[in-house]
Chain length 208, copies 2
DNA sequence: GGATCGTTTTGCAGTCACTGCAAGTTTGCA
DNA sequence: TGCAAACTTGCAGTGACTGCAAAACGATCC
């Protein structure tokens, strides 16, 4: 009875994971990240503290809702992109796909996260640090696609730029969210794509 | 008798700080970062555990030897660069200056750190997370120089790219240190400067 | 050579994230 | 129904980190 891809067990796991993520974000937004203990989070989600740590390796991860499949998924997308697409574009698309998916599924959570990240911008960086392994995975995918040797800087830089793009976009989005997060990430990628050597023209009331 | 800038007190503080940094790096390289306790580090440096935490906010910081003055110093350099220099170039130079200074003063420490960071690449990212405040400071400096409004993505991205450049360069350097770290950082900056949209040509036996 | 004042060091008690282990409980399957 | 595998839980322990109040120390003034 688990052909549809979801056994009872799987469903329960997904729910527990979601509940923990949600509890972490909600409580942190309410009282501030470090005035919330894992004990409280676990209680809110109706599981034991030990179970919390079966799902997330750290409180940080739970706040961001780190999805262990996101890395591999993106790597796969990078490799699966059509041949005529550049490595840069392939990577950019896989990041954007991931983000729009995420926002479509949990926009409300991200609005709460924003509150937390405004107080503690370092948490986002720290969260990315946990996924250093996936960075390697992604860099390998990009490197393969670009036909570069293992040690070349380019794949690493591109992936790191992706993290940076996301991070900066969120920071900017937190300041004022008139613009969609996806658009900001896209804009950041454009800047990385065309190079940072020159200050981009910026259009505002008055012109340059 | 403290006109020369260094009272006995100041000298002692500098020594203690250096001893703690050195002990952290040495022991971590020897036994692995998380098989070393702060207690052992403090003992090695001949101070109490509590004193360790008077100097460094965390074990992570001690490993990297986070210099609280580095951020402000770089910001100042960015603002002090000659007028005809672009914000990008100004920032690049201030990063490189900082790195070469650091390497000249403590190359041996960095060779040990390399060992540790090879095992635990996430530590470098985490260390940068602590200096999120300085990122803001630097971004403001760059933004001012570029004449961009507060909220613009460019300054943030440039600074984040700097971190990424350093991080990737160290990772690459750890793999094989035939190339000087400074050169690698410089190369990374070049890539960011000219844009990541296209895969850089890479010269090797056989040509493209 | 003190007396004094500000700074640094220290010990201590406490909190909290996180881990390994060894049951217990639930789910999947025959 | 019953067994095996997967999940949950409690427990005991480690270790990072904090606040506080007392002690040690360095600078300064007489």
């Amino acid at each position: 009875m688990n052909q549809p891809g979801e056994s009872l067990r799987d469903r329960k796991k997904r729910r527990t994971r979601a509940a923990l993520e949600r509890a972490t974000v909600r409580l942190s937004a309410e009282r501030g990240y470090d005035h919330v203990t894992v004990e409280e989070i676990a209680a809110e989600a109706d599981v034991s503290v030990r179970t919390f740590f079966n799902y997330f390796a750290s409180k940080d991860e739970a706040l961001i809702g780190a999805d262990p499949e996101a890395g591999p998924r993106m790597a796969e997308r990078v490799l699966a992109a059509p041949d005529e697409v550049s490595p840069f574009e392939a990577y950019r698309r896989s990041v954007l796909a991931e983000i729009t998916d995420e926002l479509n599924n949990a926009r409300d959570l991200w609005l709460l996260r924003k509150e937390v990240l405004m107080q503690r911008p370092d948490l986002l960086v720290r969260a990315f640090a946990n996924s250093a392994q996936y960075e390697q995975l992604l860099a390998d995918a990009v490197g393969r696609r670009a036909g570069l040797p293992e040690a070349h800087l380019y794949p690493r830089l591109l992936v790191a730029a992706g993290s940076a793009a996301f991070r900066c976009a969120v920071t900017r989005w937190a300041v004022d969210d008139d613009v969609a997060l996806g658009d900001l990430v896209s804009e950041a990628f454009d800047l990385f794509g065309t190079g940072l050597a020159h200050v981009p023209k910026h259009h505002h009331e008055g012109g340059s």
